[in-house]
């Protein structure tokens, strides 16, 4: 995959279809990502978690969104054509002939579910690659698939057997040894890994004593992202890149080209911008431009 620059989006941090409604053609003309990663798609539709879903913390954001999505069938029939038309329009406006690949992120609760999702993506020419969101409990064991190297390797191996597309495994940071999990993904046949996903976090609702503590977020706990996690991401990306020979997509709190440069310097091939896009949808474009300018000096 040849990309126009090394900056993409983190899954679930940029809805290109909604952004097209808000910004019109300006979205395609100023599209900041060299590849576009969809939000997580599951087999069945999901409404998402009850509100409240957000908490602003020191230098960051805790979210408990709950992966709302239309489910695989309606993603393929409704969203995929629209996303493909957006990335095609972006390719035309960027004008250097390099297409903006569409990466579909999927999540299952078992190896069989992951394989079914990957197989459906395999049949679609619009999809350039598949990213596996393994930050979810196994429906049978209750253990997070991505936190357990043995289980993770099994899932990736099963998906690998059923898919010809490049496979990216989105690692969870909520594990004792992220490099061991990354190794398991590589051993299972992953073509790349991406990290970090959000760190499990919690906030209490404002209260007056002696009221008992109550979680603010409707989902109880959530995932922390933003500048607050940047140094943790750097440590995890460095540990993983040192161990693997496949490419690493680094992300976590990137707000500037300097932050992206740090991730690249410790071994990331690509960098993703996530939460910063919430503050400014064009932020990733500035990161890419800054990297390019620094490279020209």
């Amino acid at each position: 995959m040849r990309l126009a620059h090394p900056v993409i989006n983190g899954s679930g941090t940029f809805d290109a279809i909604a952004a097209r409604r808000a910004f019109g053609d300006g979205l395609c003309e100023g599209f900041p990502f060299a590849a576009y990663v969809s939000k997580t798609i599951t087999l069945e539709p999901r409404p998402g978690n009850p509100p409240p879903r957000l908490w602003e913390s020191a230098g960051g954001l805790i979210n408990s969104i709950g992966l709302p999505n239309k489910g695989l069938e309606r993603y393929i029939s409704e969203d995929l054509p629209e996303l493909a038309s957006i990335t095609a329009a972006v390719t035309r406006s960027i004008g250097d002939g390099r297409p903006v690949p569409l990466i579909t992120n999927v999540m299952g609760s078992s190896a069989a579910e992951f394989a079914q999702l990957a197989e459906a993506c395999d049949a679609r020419p619009e999809i350039a690659a598949v990213e596996l969101n393994v930050s979810c409990p196994n429906v049978n064991t209750g253990l997070d698939i991505g936190a357990d190297p043995r289980q993770l390797e099994g899932v990736v191996r099963e998906v690998r057997a059923r898919s010809t597309k490049p496979l990216i495994v989105k690692l969870t940071p909520n594990t004792a040894d992220v490099a061991a999990c990354a190794q398991a993904a590589q051993d299972g046949g992953a073509d790349a890994v991406s990290l970090i996903n959000t760190l499990r976090a919690m906030a209490l609702a404002p209260r007056v004593r002696p009221d008992p503590p109550r979680a603010w977020l409707g989902g109880g706990t959530g995932g922390l992202s933003g500048p607050a996690v940047r140094t943790i991401a750097l440590a995890q990306v460095a540990a993983v890149a040192a161990r693997l020979h496949i490419p690493v997509v680094g992300m976590g709190g990137v707000q500037s080209a300097a932050h992206a440069r740090d991730l690249i310097d410790v071994g990331a091939t690509l960098v993703a911008v996530g939460t910063e896009s919430f503050r400014d949808p064009a932020a990733a474009g500035r990161v890419a431009l800054g990297l390019q300018q620094a490279g020209e000096d």
Binding site: R21, P47, P51, G218, R279, P281, A282
Partner: protein, 271 residues
């Protein structure tokens, strides 16, 4: 008014310059910025953040931009109504002429003009009166305006809309009680109306219930905690009548009341 011909927001936040900060009574402030962006529909909003010192306040916040209804638009200038309720709004209230303001917008779906023969009744509560000002500016026929405030200090907010009937929780001005009492008496003698409302969740829920009981169409401008304002974060979900959720930022902020089962108290916008 809401129609498909309105120009979309420019992609990316824009650095605007503050042209004025005017107190409106003891609590509210009117922030004016030079703005050559697209003309907003009444009810649309923008995500705002101070260009300098955004962060480092209470709990090391703010971090995210804050959503504000566009209160008024004049050629080359946008106005926003502010109340200091937390580290983000506090920082915005400190802005002075010449300061920089990041703005993304105009965003979201605005109000829809009343159909022929229906009278517009505008119902506002507290700082939520903001989008009713630009709506009143754009309506072809003078609407009935009903405003509710907590106390005397906040009642000064009425000056934003000019001629209005006022209710106050503490009885310090106008009717002693909720603004929905005024709405009830308006609808008592004329139900051929369309209600436009913005304010606290409890007020909106009362407006929704009153209008639903009487078959009066209502358009509610909602507030919810949101990180982005353009459909990316999925944080601003409100339950949709019949199941699932709506995103306040892209499905609203103005939502037909019959699309909502109820207006919940969860909103919890970052302040």
């Amino acid at each position: 008014m809401n129609d498909s011909s309105s120009a979309p927001a420019p992609f990316g936040r824009r650095l605007l310059t503050v042209t004025g900060m005017r107190p409106l009574g003891e609590v509210y402030r009117v922030l004016s910025v030079a703005d050559d962006g697209p003309d907003p529909e009444p009810g649309q909003f923008a995500m705002l953040a101070a260009a300098e010192r955004w962060g480092g306040g209470e709990d090391e916040r703010p971090y995210l931009p804050r959503a504000f209804s566009i209160a008024r638009r004049r050629p080359g200038e946008s106005q926003f109504l502010l109340e200091d309720v937390g580290p983000g709004t506090r920082r915005l209230c400190e802005l002075e002429e010449g300061d920089g303001l990041w703005a993304l917008g105009p965003l979201g779906v605005g109000f829809t003009a009343p159909t022929a023969g229906r009278r517009a009744i505008l119902v506002g509560g507290g700082v939520g009166i903001a989008p009713l000002a630009i709506l009143k500016d754009r309506l072809e026929t003078e609407p009935t305006v009903l405003l509710g405030f907590r106390d005397r200090a906040r009642c000064a907010g009425r000056d934003l809309l000019g001629d209005a009937a006022v209710a106050s929780d503490d009885g310090s001005a106008g009717h002693h009680g909720p603004v929905t009492d005024l709405l009830l008496s308006e609808l008592e003698h004329d139900q051929r109306a369309v209600v436009y409302a913005c304010g606290p969740a409890a007020m909106l829920e009362a407006v929704r219930a009153i209008c639903a009981d009487r078959g009066v169409p209502a358009q509610l401008a909602l507030e919810a905690g949101m990180a982005c304002g353009f459909g990316a974060c999925f944080g601003c979900a409100v339950p949709r009548s019949g199941g699932g959720y709506l995103r306040v930022c892209v499905d609203g902020p103005v939502i037909d009341a019959d699309q909502l089962e109820h207006v919940g108290e969860h909103a919890g916008a970052p302040q």
